[in-house]
């Protein structure tokens, strides 16, 4: 997903000059009419607690003050800021307030985005408070594992 977005945003500059290309790109399609959603997968203790094995979650609008990105060129009102993976646990808890022990389960869990593990504490910019969710991602709650 990330590579496609990267290609689309790279190509966008050329699309404006070439009328034979379609006018919609990946980056504008994701914010056209419906709000962005992610698919969240639950396993093991998380799924037992919540009572679901997956759900679609709508990403909330995050108020943003600066409008520096090129996506804002076609919009007149304020746009939403980035929603980071680290904000997802509290969102999930708010959606399932009666799920037993969910807060602790999520605190003990790791996370994956689009089939890649995310290091909660990575020092190189890959940590989960820098992993942005834009819509369309498959996010999984990875409780402590017990294979073998």
């Amino acid at each position: 997903m990330d590579l496609t977005d990267l290609i689309a945003s790279t190509v966008q500059v050329q699309i404006r000059d070439a009328s034979s290309f379609p006018s919609t790109t990946m980056s504008s399609a994701s914010k056209s009419t419906s709000p962005p959603t992610i698919t969240v997968l639950y396993f093991a203790a998380a799924s037992t607690s919540i009572g679901l094995t997956s759900e679609e979650i709508t990403l909330p609008v995050v108020k943003k003050h600066s409008t520096a990105s090129e996506q804002n060129e076609s919009e007149s009102e304020s746009t939403s800021g980035p929603f980071f993976l680290s904000s997802l646990p509290s969102l999930i808890i708010s959606l399932h307030p009666d799920a037993p022990n969910l807060k602790q389960i999520l605190e003990e869990s790791q996370w994956s985005v689009d089939v890649e593990m995310v290091d909660k504490e990575a020092k190189d910019g890959g940590s989960w408070d820098k992993v942005e969710l834009r819509g369309g991602e498959e996010v999984a709650v990875i409780c402590p594992v017990s294979g073998g």
Binding site: Y42, F43, A45, T53, I142, V145, S146, G147
Partner: protein
């Protein structure tokens, strides 16, 4: 309430040169062992993990496994590739079962062949330990006489 397993917990396989990592509902142990046979490898080491009948004095009636399969086989293949770099085995196969595993039946098989036994043992152990630590697979243990809905998901940590 009895939930269906996650739709992401399915059969999956990842193959590379000299390596197979798979998740499936059944394990054909003889076939897995045969898959790592290699004329250049005189040492064959196989680890088979089976469901034990007790845990801390409680009688285990069955285990259930589920996996985030497409990520788990990716993780398993990374683990195997690291073992290949460290110990240069000839062939490796790691298979993990999902679904219900009755007592006494295999849940995981790690099979390794190498020219000599030292590398075969080392690679097999390294793969097994890392799979237990990292693969996105979960085990739920059911005990005799206990409410099934309260069965705990185990943790290897």
């Amino acid at each position: 309430m009895s939930m269906l397993p996650p739709s992401a917990s399915v059969e999956a396989k990842s193959e590379a040169s000299g390596a197979i990592c798979a998740i499936s509902y059944t394990l054909d142990v003889p076939a897995i062992i045969r898959s790592v046979c290699d004329d250049g490898a005189g040492a064959n080491v196989h680890f088979i993990g089976t469901t034990r009948n007790s845990f801390q004095g409680k009688v285990v009636t069955r285990l259930e496994y589920q996996a985030y399969s497409k990520l788990a086989v990716k993780t398993m293949m990374d683990i195997v590739q690291r073992a290949i770099e460290s110990h240069s085995p000839a062939k490796c196969a790691v298979w993990h079962r999902i679904g219900v595993v009755p007592v006494g039946e295999p849940s995981i098989v790690v099979a390794v062949s190498a020219p000599h036994r030292k590398e075969a043992f080392s690679a097999c152990e390294q793969i097994l330990e890392e799979v237990k630590q990292k693969a996105q697979i979960w085990k739920r243990e059911y005990y005799e006489g206990e409410d099934e809905n309260a069965a705990q998901w185990k943790s290897n940590a």
